[in-house]
């Protein structure tokens, strides 16, 4: 490279190109800074809220806090009935929402003919995800609590939340099914597989990771729900536990807990936050930490399962 040998015209062109590159790079830098700022606003706000919760709540966290029933005395109050209630409701939600959601998704994706009716169902399913949760609460109050006579029970709450998260599970399952290449389906059919064999031997195992993602999202959404649970009449002060699902005598399992009255963590928190006494506010923060921990635990488990499944399958 010898700049001296270049004609003046080339030098002008080069200067122009350099100016273009410099201005382009400046814009690029500006956008990067703007993007970083947006990310930080979101992240720092969240972090600040979380830290506040930890600072307030951590001192109250103890074994007693987890094993005590609520009390009039803030320092003796615990969340036993709330976290057990949340756990039981989550079990019902999962048992109801996963089979129904996955079944509906498989039907819509693999079995249903493509016509206006399925288009209509599809639009409805997607829109259901945007319905306010209180509406599900009202529906459940009429349907589960009164019509079916399940009462203000764990079962009613679990089914309500299951309805709430069905669209999330259906949509994410359908997306997971769609990522499976057509030549895998054709390969299975060419071996003489029936549609059900294709679904059960191939589609479901290969889309487990994607389905789990939907289940995690749904469950995380469900565990934090307050409005629909209040709507169906959960208690805010409860000093007993539902019967244990596992009995000491045969058949070692019972279902009376399904019809028990209950409360859940967000309601317990709400109840404490609304009290004037500062000590109860700290209790609420501590309960919040437990709620977050339960959510993270669920997510962690699902991410682990998804990771081990995905490691094996690459298209």
């Amino acid at each position: 490279m010898n700049p001296g040998s270049m004609s003046s015209r080339t030098e002008v062109d080069q200067a122009h190109i350099r100016a273009l590159v410099t201005s382009g790079k400046r814009k690029q830098l500006l956008f990067a800074i703007a993007g970083l700022t947006c990310t930080m606003i979101a992240l720092l706000t969240l972090l600040a809220a979380f830290l506040q919760l930890l600072i307030d709540g951590l001192p109250r966290l103890s074994w007693d806090f987890l094993t005590n029933f609520p009390s009039r005395h803030a320092t003796q109050a615990g969340i036993l009935s709330a976290w057990v209630g949340s756990a039981m409701v989550m079990v019902v939600t999962m048992l109801a929402a996963v089979p129904v959601g996955v079944g509906a998704a498989v039907y819509l994706e693999e079995y249903a003919p493509r016509n206006w009716l399925t288009d209509l169902i599809e639009i409805n399913v997607t829109n259901l995800a945007g319905v306010p949760s209180i509406v599900y609460g009202l529906l459940a109050l009429g349907l589960f609590v009164y019509q079916f006579g399940f009462g203000e029970s764990v079962l009613s709450a679990g089914l309500t939340l299951a309805l709430l998260i069905l669209p999330i599970i259906i949509v994410s399952t359908r997306e997971a099914l769609r990522t499976i290449p057509g030549n895998i389906r054709e390969g299975a059919y060419a071996m003489g597989a029936t549609r059900w064999q294709m679904v059960s031997n191939h589609l479901l195992p290969y889309s487990t990771g994607g389905i789990l993602t939907g289940v995690i999202l749904g469950m995380a959404e469900a565990i934090g729900q307050t409005a629909p649970i209040i709507c169906i009449g959960a208690l805010t002060f409860i000093a007993f536990l539902p019967d244990s699902p596992f009995g000491g005598s045969p058949p070692f399992i019972n279902f009376s807990w399904l019809f028990s009255e209950f409360t859940v963590l967000p309601i317990q928190m709400y109840n404490w936050v609304s009290r004037p006494d500062k000590a109860f506010q700290l209790n609420a923060a501590a309960a919040g930490v437990i709620l977050l921990a339960m959510t993270l635990l669920m997510n962690g488990l699902a991410i682990y399962i998804r990771y081990t499944v995905r490691k094996k399958i690459k298209w």
């Binding site: 030549n183 054709e186 003489g192």
Partner: protein, 273 residues
């Protein structure tokens, strides 16, 4: 059942003894429609038993569409319609008939696809899949059949120590031979190949071609290829198709050395297509 056998066959070359070909299937006036579009127009050819029949022609000529009629693959998609007959010997059943279940047809006629499509399962489970679909649960039978099929696909020596490994860990050529083994495991009467080497490198292609030539003794083969040299190398009979029509069907030697139609000659010599 064999119709218009103009000349005897010399599989693999002119020096071998004359073998009168026996039809494994007979296609009668086959038309196929995607909605209103008539993709196949009145095709009639015999498919000879234990011989390789190649389908050649330019892109979009309907050769893959024709192949996929044999295992009723089109049934998986809406707005498709068959018209005409494909009669499978020796039981004389028209596999396109409405009352014949496509699954039953696929149980008898296997297929190997363009791009290797092993299932994301172990090598063993890939080959055993067809057997499992057919209700075989006995471990010893499965093990024997899997070994036999892998030997048949010239893959056994390469994978015998890693049957539990995921099939995706194999190379492209190995994956395609695995797919051949998967199809062979259920002893199909006809094996369909849809451009089986188009996604493979030349070495893997050569091994698949060699395999196809060997498989002839066990199974009737129908292969779609866009590669004329491949058709010349592996097949005994060749059908040249153009725009959904069958232009010429004859012994491969005749098609490549002395085609009867000018159109075929133009395609073979590269003046067209």
């Amino acid at each position: 059942m064999v119709t218009e056998t103009s000349s005897p066959v010399f599989p693999g070359g002119a020096t071998e003894p004359v073998v009168p070909p026996v039809a494994k299937a007979q296609v009668h006036d086959l038309n196929f429609f995607y909605g209103e579009l008539r993709a196949l127009k009145g095709i009639s050819i015999p498919i000879y038993k234990h011989l390789v029949t190649a389908l050649i022609g330019p892109s979009g000529c309907g050769k893959s569409t024709f192949l996929r009629c044999f295992n009723r693959m089109h049934d998986l998609y809406p707005n498709t319609r068959y018209d005409g007959r494909i009669v499978l010997m020796p039981d004389n059943v028209n596999i396109l008939h409405r009352e014949v279940d496509p699954i039953e047809v696929r149980m008898r006629i296997g297929m190997v696809f363009q791009k290797p499509n092993p299932f994301p399962k172990s090598i063993f489970e890939n080959v055993a899949y067809g057997l499992r679909v057919r209700g075989i649960r006995n471990r010893a039978v499965l093990t024997d059949k899997v070994e036999e099929a892998l030997r048949g696909a010239a893959l056994w020596d390469e994978v015998k120590d890693r049957l539990a490994e995921l099939a995706f860990n194999l190379s492209g050529g190995q994956q395609q031979r695995l797919c051949i083994a998967r199809a062979l495991a259920t002893d199909p009467e006809i094996l369909l190949f849809d451009e089986p080497t188009s996604a493979l490198d030349p070495i893997a292609t050569a091994s698949i071609e060699e395999l196809i030539a060997d498989l002839r003794s066990k199974v009737t083969i129908l292969i779609v290829t866009h590669n004329m040299q491949q058709a010349a190398r592996v097949s005994d009979y060749t059908a040249y198709m153009y725009l959904g029509e069958l232009i010429e069907f004859d012994r491969t030697q005749t098609i490549f050395v002395k085609p009867k139609k000018k159109q075929t000659e133009d395609y073979i010599t590269g003046r067209f297509g």
